[in-house]
């Protein structure tokens, strides 16, 4: 799935609950077996989720290519990154991606969820169709949309042409490539957001909306004064999740445009990939990775504080 399940990060509420669900009383003995049970998961988790980050923090301060030994160069990678025009382009692009994809996915996802939640006939079919793009891989999304957005023979430009507008060079011009990739991303990412909204809508107690109905509130008012306040925490969560997932945009860029033309659809992860794999600058790539990590951390923490303030 597009977002790779980052939405779990919002579920930390349970983290510190001391004795939730334990079977025995206060005097129950320590289950030493517990460490063994956790260990089976904790071992790969530590080796492949935690260690690479620590290792990366070290690599970021070195000059290192595949061959040869690392050379400690202090902050030089970070200094270079701040002066690198293409790093600036990549981070600038990712803000534009965020500005298009996040509102697009949030507004459409909420609208689609409201529709499906009406329990109209065939609502289950609509639910399936809205979610389906979320289960296929970036390769499918990328190739299908490259074809749909083909300037000369693409389906999208065919219908744009029927509206009397000229062919749009969706993926081949510096002005449009980022928008073209964003369209594909919205189609891909929407399913997850849609399901989260749908679950939240179904959690609203029926009697609340029915009471509003009895009071004579029309559709718009019910949405504005009853449903929307209930959804506020979910909207905040969805916006953050989608923002983080968009900051990590890579696969569709790689498949659709290779970051081009002229870097116009590049993204931080795409640039990191290019720096490490094509130019073999592992230290420099790790440093840019750490910078992106810092940005994502700030976004996550800001959202946490926003939620805590309100609570």
């Amino acid at each position: 799935m597009a977002a790779g399940m980052p939405h779990l990060s919002m579920a930390r509420a349970n983290a510190g609950r001391p004795s939730a669900g334990s079977a025995g009383g206060e005097s129950a003995p320590t289950d030493w077996m517990g460490y063994l049970f956790v260990g089976l998961f904790a071992l790969p988790f530590f080796l492949f989720n935690i260690l690479p980050v620590l290792f990366g923090a070290y690599v970021a301060f070195t000059k290192w290519s595949i061959i040869g030994k690392p050379k400690w160069i202090g902050l030089a990678n970070f200094e270079a990154a701040f002066a690198d025009h293409w790093v600036a382009v990549a981070f600038h692009n990712v803000l534009l991606y965020g500005a298009i994809v996040v509102p697009g996915v949030t507004v459409l996802g909420l609208s689609f969820a409201l529709f499906v939640n009406q329990r109209y006939p065939l609502a289950a079919l609509a639910r399936t169709l809205f979610f389906a793009p979320n289960v296929v891989s970036a390769t499918v999304i990328g190739l299908v949309w490259v074809w749909l957005l083909d300037t000369q023979y693409g389906l999208v430009n065919h219908y744009v042409g029927l509206l009397g507008l000229g062919p749009v060079p969706w993926l081949t011009s510096t002005d449009w490539s980022l928008i073209g990739v964003s369209l594909a991303s919205i189609w891909w990412d929407l399913g997850l957001v849609f399901v989260l909204f749908l679950a939240a809508l179904q959690d609203i107690p029926r009697d609340i909306t029915e009471a509003a109905m009895v009071d004579g509130a029309d559709r718009v008012r019910r949405f504005w004064f009853v449903i929307l306040p209930h959804l506020r925490p979910v909207i905040s969560m969805v916006v953050t999740l989608q923002l983080i997932s968009t900051l990590r945009i890579f696969s569709q860029v790689y498949v659709m445009t290779n970051g081009g033309p002229a870097g116009s659809s590049s993204s931080p992860i795409y640039y990191i990939y290019n720096t490490a794999i094509v130019r073999s600058l592992f230290g420099y790539a790790s440093a840019i990775g750490m910078m992106l990590f810092a940005v994502i951390l700030v976004v996550t923490l800001l959202q946490r504080f926003a939620i805590r303030e309100r609570a």
Binding site: M5, F41, Y120, S137
Partner: protein, 294 residues
């Protein structure tokens, strides 16, 4: 006349029964229209995949091809697609099995067993979700190359096992597990291992299926890591191999490119779409449970 009125009355009664009003009718048509529109890229993908290459790059839009061929699919299989598919299957199923089993054990322990540091361990698991995998992927690749694991199954599989989603969904389930069952088993002298294996896990059908389908799909679709770690054509996974089907001038002829590419992505998307169609309930429940039920 009377027939018409009764029809109208019946229609009204039908709407009222469902608490619908006249406004709902156009809303329904618009909503369903958008839902169908949303699926059209898939229709176009399949339609293109059955066309003759010369019928693809034309200004006429043929939703239903006037003549049909399977030549594109045969062409797809001229590439090592079967090998890539086997790689994908091995990678996704072994990784998912390990992740679900390890996650179930850890989730069980974190919910039902008492030991010092339990809360801290779960806290670390959740906090780690703030680390985007894309950021640690380059140092991980460097490490994997250094220990000589590049282009191997263990390099494809092991780094994807530590998915916290699995632990989380099982912990949530086992928190609501009836304590009586546990106590009865304890009376019979069963230790935690037998308790988990013979009682807890068999009862955890729903979270097992949900975790399995979601994690399998994630693994099947995984792109960045397999792209980085497979230098060998024969070790590529299906998404990485088929990504090279983009008809950039120079790799395929522009003319036949899209029909073969669409056949390739149809093959690639079929397993996940089928899995989703059959087990939709688990996908949707699993995802919403993973995030909302706090």
């Amino acid at each position: 006349m009377t027939a018409q009125t009764t029809m109208l009355d019946r229609g009204k009664a039908w709407l009222e029964e469902r608490r619908l009003t006249a406004v709902d009718i156009p809303l329904w048509f618009i909503g369903m229209g958008i839902a169908i529109l949303w699926a059209l890229p898939f229709v176009w993908m399949v339609s293109t995949s059955f066309k003759y290459p010369e019928d693809v790059m034309t200004v006429d839009i043929e939703w239903l091809p006037h003549r049909v061929t399977v030549a594109n699919y045969l062409k797809v299989f001229e590439y090592p697609v079967v090998r890539w598919g086997i790689n994908s299957l091995i990678q996704a199923s072994v990784s998912t099995a390990l992740c679900v089993l390890a996650g179930a054990m850890a989730g069980y322990a974190l919910a039902r067993m008492r030991f010092p540091g339990r809360g801290l361990i779960f806290g670390i698991f959740l906090a780690s979700l703030m680390i985007p995998t894309e950021v640690s992927v380059i140092p991980m690749l460097l490490g994997i190359i250094k220990i000589g694991w590049a282009s191997t199954y263990q390099a494809l599989i092991l780094p994807t096992v530590g998915n916290v989603f699995s632990v989380y969904i099982f912990r949530q389930f086992f928190l609501t597990f009836p304590a009586e069952l546990e106590e009865a088993a304890r009376m019979d002298g069963a230790g935690h291992f037998r308790l988990f294996w013979l009682i807890a896990l068999p009862l955890a059908r729903a979270p097992t299926i949900a975790a399995s389908v979601i994690i399998f799909t994630l693994n099947w679709n995984n792109f960045l890591w397999p792209l980085l770690v497979t230098f060998d054509e024969s070790m590529k996974t299906l998404p990485v191999g088929i990504a090279a089907f983009t008809p950039v001038v120079g790799t395929h002829t522009q003319l036949e490119g899209y029909s073969v590419a669409m056949a390739g992505v149809t093959v690639l998307s079929l397993p996940s779409l089928l899995l989703f169609a059959v087990l939709q309930r688990y996908f949707i429940q699993g995802i919403s449970q993973g995030s909302l039920k706090q």
